[in-house]
Symmetry: C2
Subunit: 268 residues, 2 copies
């Protein structure tokens, strides 16, 4: 199996290192708009080589792993699926736009390309997917982060919220996932994963808050439906290399890659 | 795609009905040791026909869904994987035996057969699988059920525990998953799913208790590792058709089947 990794930041690097150890992976093509960064990574990964762009490699590779930015994802996804190549998407926020998501999903179906979305920084997407087979009354995502995580967020600035003066756990926002992903760019991926795997952006409710006492990024997922109830709590340690990413998010992508390359589907 | 469903009880019936509505499913072969039961189901499912045994249909079908018993699963799984046919296993307890599990996993790999295990009556297996990419310090499963669920369980009888006289939440057992699956046949599947997807039967700790006040089957999954911490709570409504099965368990299998037949892997 040959992979193309788009984006050689902390997530791309971890994935390339993990893929390098997988016997079934023969070649790893690396792409980054900063070519020096791709070259620095290639120097430490045996099976890797730097390539100019993704399109060229679509004739050679079996799976593209997007771990760049939403903007890059929006460009890359349509080209990959149209070529019938499978893709794993890390910048899931790129799929928030309904027309775009439906178009690429449809195209992927037509061209026999598979779209993989790892569970990311949250847990319980297994129960979420299963719950939607029956009636679902409620899906709620609650995200609590340290105040520093919201510095520079327009919604916070517009309301004149002084993050440094917050002493207790404080809710900043409650509303639909569709609105939340627009207002809180730091939470787009988790809210998008939950919405896509569950009951959509308009029925999924999102609450976002800050807590000066927590050290981790906390996500709570609550579901009520015909199956019963479930609630999950995930406390994510930020990645030591890039504090904007959590370890679990990268681990879930590596676990997914392991499954794909080994064609072993114990657990689904 | 052609399916063979082994076992036409409540789970097999629900799966057959769901599969009947999936455009991609062309034919559903039904097997049951009670042939009249298979025939009764076939009468209500358009694409279904009753067959004598699984082996015969392995030349025609793409996926076998085992929803019979552990004993049936032990017989069927090796034959299916050796033929290179994919299999979804519901009686996951059949995989508790290390030698058996390793042999069929190895055989499946050799013969390019995929083994699917749905998340079943629990949630958080997505986070569990991801967590094992890093170091994991602790995986704990806590199961609390109404006392009536443990009637006839040898472990309870041997200790002279009078289930009817229990007034408060009471812990019956704490130990390894390996021991728990032997002592508590009602909890085999969930404990096996968690052990197989996580850190194995010897490192997964299981606590089993009763609570006269709960109406649902409760499972709690706690994980601590390099990624951080997570905890999930699942309150399962028993299936109205067969109270020994929970709705979520059947839903997770239908969700998995949907994914497989559509070859759509949004979410992994």
């Amino acid at each position: 199996m040959r992979l193309t990794i788009v984006g050689c930041g902390s997530r791309g690097s971890k994935l390339a290192e993990a893929a390098d150890k997988m016997m079934e992976v023969k070649r790893i093509y690396l792409v980054d708009e900063d070519k020096a960064r791709a070259e620095a990574l290639a120097a430490t990964v045996n099976k890797a080589e730097v390539v100019e762009d993704v399109e060229e490699e679509l004739y050679h590779c079996d799976l593209v792993i997007e771990c760049a930015t939403q903007a890059a994802a929006r460009q890359v996804i349509p080209k990959v699926v149209a070529r019938g190549v499978d893709i794993m998407i890390m910048s899931v926020g790129a799929l928030v736009d309904d027309d775009f998501r439906e178009a690429v999903t449809e195209k992927a179906k037509m061209c026999d390309s598979k779209i993989y979305i790892p569970s990311g920084a949250i847990c319980g997407t297994d129960g979420l997917r299963a719950s939607t087979v029956g009636e679902v009354q409620q899906v709620e995502l609650i995200t609590i982060m340290p105040p520093v995580s919201f510095e520079g967020v327009k919604y916070v600035e517009d309301r004149g919220i002084d993050l440094k003066s917050i002493k207790d756990k404080t809710i900043l926002y409650t509303g639909t996932a569709r609105e939340a992903v627009q207002l809180f760019p730091r939470n787009v991926n988790v809210a998008a994963i939950v919405s896509i795997m569950g009951i959509g952006f308009d029925r999924t409710m999102v609450t976002i808050g800050v807590d000066p006492d927590i050290k981790t990024n906390y996500h709570e997922l609550k579901i009520k439906g015909e199956f019963g109830d479930l609630c999950t709590h995930t406390y994510n340690v930020p990645s030591p290399i890039n504090p904007k990413t959590s370890n679990l998010s990268v681990f879930s992508a590596i676990a997914a890659l392991e499954r794909i390359v080994k064609n072993q589907w114990v657990g689904i």
